[in-house]
Symmetry: C2
Subunit: 247 residues, 2 copies
């Protein structure tokens, strides 16, 4: 009811430059030369958008015309088929691209919701395509991002299809911590941005099972849990949860 009313609903027409972004080593333009990045900056109009916690960045069914790169914050992508049936397909954080599943049909296939106040770059897909033709290494990086999402989805399928609850939760935590570590955060301490229910939706488990599993890990001395704050005390032990029969 307050400031939300005044915030524009769509893209802020404020130009953002990749070359001066602190995510340039993680995000779309990884590995571009200074000149290439300057070229990208000069041609591609990248807008910026803020999304408040709980708000949707895109809705399923929306026309697809841009991909989004997370600058700051945390998002979930949720697919809904039959009413009531929902599945979180990914959690995205800084430097990760959102909306890639919509290129094919021209419509977004997921709802994307901010889990905390966040900021994204809005990258018009048409411009990205055109610029990819002019800057091969940008094209290459875009393809790598698409491919990375495919490989990540396969890993998620592996977890959903062939792991027990403890293994799924362990894999989830290790994956999350690893991604955060790449971004300069602690490798042993995480503040979860998502609820137990959301973790469960991603892992194909109920929230109670997630909660119980975290409690068990604490009992087993692998980590400390206090609500959404997690401190991993035995990273090796946590990895061993994934090894079927350790020596």
């Amino acid at each position: 009811m307050d400031e939300i009313v005044f915030r524009p609903l769509h893209t802020v027409a404020c130009k953002v430059r990749c070359s001066s972004c602190n995510l340039r080593e993680i995000c779309l333009p990884v590995g571009l030369t200074r000149e290439e990045m300057a070229h990208v900056d000069s041609i591609m109009v990248v807008g910026q958008r803020k999304v408040a916690r709980g708000e949707a960045l895109v809705h399923a069914g929306d026309r697809f015309d841009s991909v989004f790169a997370v600058r700051t914050g945390f998002f979930k992508s949720v697919i809904t088929s039959s009413p009531g049936r929902q599945q979180i397909t990914a959690f995205q954080t800084s430097g990760e691209l959102i909306g890639l599943g919509g290129i094919d049909t021209g419509r977004h296939e997921v709802d994307v919701v901010a889990l905390e106040d966040s900021q994204v770059c809005v990258i018009p897909y048409g411009e990205l395509e055109a610029l990819g033709r002019a800057v091969p290494s940008l094209q290459r990086q875009f393809h790598r991002h698409l491919s990375r999402e495919i490989a990540a989805d396969h890993e998620a399928m592996m977890q959903l299809g062939s792991m027990h609850a403890e293994e799924r939760v362990a894999a989830f935590l290790l994956n999350l911590v690893h991604r955060l570590e790449t971004r300069g955060f602690s490798s042993t301490s995480v503040l979860l941005r998502m609820s137990r229910d959301e973790i469960g939706s991603f892992l194909g488990l109920k929230l109670e099972t997630v909660s119980r599993t975290l409690s068990k890990f604490q009992t087993d001395g692998l980590l400390f849990v206090r609500q959404r704050q997690i401190q991993i005390t035995d990273p090796v032990g946590l990895k061993q949860v994934l090894e079927p029969a350790a020596a």
Copy 2:
């Protein structure tokens, strides 16, 4: 022990032309004009390769330098993490691309195995990239294929994460039949190319559960099963398995 010995292990250096391929309306070059397709034919060296039933097209860890388009036959893509833990991530048939998950790392992440004697086009990735720059609509189609795989993986995650056994099997059959229908096959009759065990691996179920579920569908009058031959007698009923509470 017979002719297999004489079949070259790698790509047959035989040029294949997209323009004269009967899959051109389904495969990578969908929607290209006659001129564009001629251009593609003249530049891109697409090899061909035969893969016998049970043989691997690629192994996980292999250097990635080509994507493959299925011409004829059927494949499974299997990801293996910890020894013993396996997950089939997809079944591919004619017109579908294989190996897209390997672009990012430069190594294939899956084993791809033929489920019947098959033929693929070998599309060198470097050439595809270059040609995409020259032919925008080819680039667009390639992106759409990448995006389609992402969306398909999300659908698979939805099945694995939030459906019961009956729903998964029904969704699997409907998806399979739909894809085959697009290729001109019957929408009610399928000859499964994969074993119960392989279906189970894809769906996150045990082979016994797959078998039981198919039997139950038969008892319920939705279909006839005889080994790998399936005749869908009540397509509407089968779809209703996916609707939580039908009227």
